[in-house]
């Protein structure tokens, strides 16, 4: 039986949830969150070294999907920066009226520089005989009130979320950077499922998880659908 091995960060959770209820007799789907420990708190269920062993065991007809990059846009721009900044959207208009302009090429390089530091993706790519894809992270959520309500309990003191247009532009720029960096490692980027976007390019409400940055099981099902499509058709997406 052919295998799909998904390995990555917290965004794998939605995929795992979907895989748990998916009926797939023809494919073995194995989804793991990389185990990390920070301040005594352990997250994830598979050590990186064990993931390397799994990657090495894959056959050329299998598929590996990684989700380790693509979260920096949240660190950069989910909350309003104390020194506001803006970038221009794809429509050419600035995403906010205030703050220092960071040209898109510059911001994309900020994300590329951060992505480039992660050596694990190239290492996994080299170990695997199966095609290796990197997953995009879920598109940003456009509902400011929703975000505020989810962030309120987690952030001490006053805060404000960045303008939605800025968050969207940052996500798009990071995905461009991740695509560029991954292609350098011979890893293709699997774009988000077209069905996941609302008419403005944000994540549709129905795919929101209960926090500010993650998507839900239904979104995970979309990713699984894409992965199975890649595996079965041998098609290249990205």
């Amino acid at each position: 039986m052919r295998r799909i091995f998904v390995f990555g960060d917290s965004h794998t959770r939605a995929i795992l949830q979907a895989a748990e209820i998916a009926s797939c007799d023809d494919v073995s789907i194995d989804v793991h969150w990389m185990r990390t420990e920070k301040d005594g708190k352990v997250q994830g269920d598979l050590d990186y070294e064990d993931a390397k062993a799994v990657a090495s065991s894959l056959e050329p007809t299998d598929l590996m999907a990684i989700s380790l990059l693509g979260t920096r846009h949240n660190l950069v721009g989910l909350l309003r920066h104390e020194q506001p900044f803006t970038v221009h959207g794809t429509d050419g208009a600035p995403c906010s009226d205030e703050g220092e302009l960071i040209p898109r090429a510059v911001m994309e390089d900020v994300f590329a520089a951060a992505s480039q530091k992660n050596k694990r993706i190239a290492e996994l790519r080299n170990l695997s005989r199966a095609p290796v894809y990197h997953l995009v992270t879920p598109p940003p959520k456009g509902d400011n009130d929703y975000l505020k309500s989810r962030i309120m309990s987690k952030v001490a003191g006053e805060f404000d979320v960045s303008p939605a247009a800025l968050r969207l532009a940052l996500w798009q720029l990071e995905m461009q950077a991740v695509k560029r960096v991954c292609e350098g490692w011979n890893v293709l980027l699997l774009p988000a499922h077209p069905q996941a976007f609302d008419e403005h390019g944000f994540l549709k409400h129905e795919y929101y998880a209960s926090d500010a940055t993650h998507a839900n099981r239904a979104y995970g099902a979309l990713v699984l659908e894409q992965l199975r499509g890649v595996l079965n058709a041998g098609e290249k997406i990205g």
Binding site: Q83, H88, G92, L101, R104, A105, V106, D109, V110, A113
Partner: protein
């Protein structure tokens, strides 16, 4: 009267070639003459000019002085990205300013006195390039609107720089430039080299003479005085030869001599004309025959780190009134010098090299 007395009898050693140029070890040659500029660690020193000015900027940063940067880039940007996109290469993100005309027009543009008619350059792949700083951003801009917004932000920073600096170090690089036939706007690089399309109907070659350089520099100096009465100006002439000349039928070596001579004469005249304008002989330090060409790399153009070090040692010695230690004549082993030089060369972007890719 003592018939053996004459004016040369009372002159110091530095007035005599044999004693001050031929006899000392090369690293000890100090051709600085009259130089009254003084800086301390609090003085805000800003830089602009040709490639060689990048070396000055780099050394100022490393030597504990206040290298004044008015356009630093947002704190989100890591140093590697800032460097690649030329934040901090000079005091504002203007790229190389090779000619007096360019400097004068930069000032005019910053203060709304000149609005060049030249539109943004839109490349075949959709990238947008700023004609007045075509190499400033790898990847270019995504739209004309973005380029114009960044230019507006840049010119704001230029104004801030001029108004808050204590010393403006400007390295005069070239007399040759290309200008718009429509309004005389001067480009740092010939259109078509790093963006845009060359069109002889739109652009024309200009090789400035001394009077034109003086006119531009005087206008700039007056403008700076207006917005920052206490500012000092330090002029240097870049020792880097021309990559290529567009002067019809001229040889590049001869064209280099013309260009550097014009700039050197202009710098000397300006230094004599204004009390707050100073000349520092970095050109002489690098190109002087005492060095026997040792300060140039194998391409006979790029300045090696040893030479830059010599310039900066003397600059800091004289500008701080001798507060820094004397130059160390010791030389590193040849291989180390080459490696060190290679590193420094890699760090200095010289977009003029785009003229000759053969």
């Amino acid at each position: 009267l003592d018939r053996h007395q004459h004016p040369y009898k009372a002159l110091p050693a530095k007035a005599f070639w044999k004693r001050s140029v031929a006899a000392p070890a090369p690293a000890e040659v100090d051709p600085v003459g009259r130089f009254t500029l003084r800086i301390d660690e609090r003085s805000r020193v800003a830089t602009a000019g040709s490639c060689f000015a990048q070396h000055i900027a780099r050394h100022l940063r490393q030597s504990g002085f206040t290298y004044h940067i008015a356009e630093e880039g947002h704190p989100l940007l890591p140093q590697s990205v800032k460097g690649a996109h030329h934040y901090g290469t000079f005091s504002a993100r203007y790229g190389n300013i090779y000619t007096a005309r360019q400097l004068h027009q930069l000032f005019q543009r910053a203060y709304g006195e000149f609005f060049p008619a030249e539109p943004a350059w839109v490349e075949a792949d959709g990238r947008v390039v700023d004609p007045f700083r075509p190499t400033i951003q790898p990847g270019g801009y995504v739209s004309v609107v973005e380029m114009e917004a960044d230019r507006e932000q840049h010119l704001r920073s230029v104004r801030k720089m001029f108004e808050t600096l204590d010393v403006f170090v400007f390295t005069l690089g070239l007399t040759e430039c290309w200008v718009s036939r429509e309004d005389g706007a001067a480009f740092p690089l010939c259109p078509g080299v790093e963006g845009g399309t060359f069109d002889a109907e739109k652009y024309t070659f200009l090789n400035q003479d001394v009077n034109q350089v003086l006119e531009d520099m005087r206008a700039f100096i007056a403008g700076l005085k207006r917005v920052n009465p206490a500012a000092h100006v330090m002029l240097t002439v870049s020792p880097v030869p021309l990559m290529a000349t567009a002067e019809p039928d001229d040889h590049v070596l001869s064209a280099t001599t013309y260009s550097k001579s014009v700039l050197r004469v202009a710098a000397g005249m300006l230094e004599r004309e204004y009390n707050h304008v100073h000349y520092f002989p970095s050109y002489e330090i690098i190109t002087g025959s005492y060095a026997r060409g040792a300060y140039f790399a194998n391409d006979l153009r790029s300045v090696l780190e040893d030479g830059v070090g010599h310039v900066m040692r003397l600059f800091l010695k004289h500008a701080t009134g001798g507060a820094t230690s004397a130059p160390a004549p010791a030389k590193a082993a040849a291989e180390e010098v080459l490696n060190h030089a290679a590193q420094a060369l890699v760090d200095v972007e010289c977009d003029e090299s785009a003229l000759d890719r053969s």
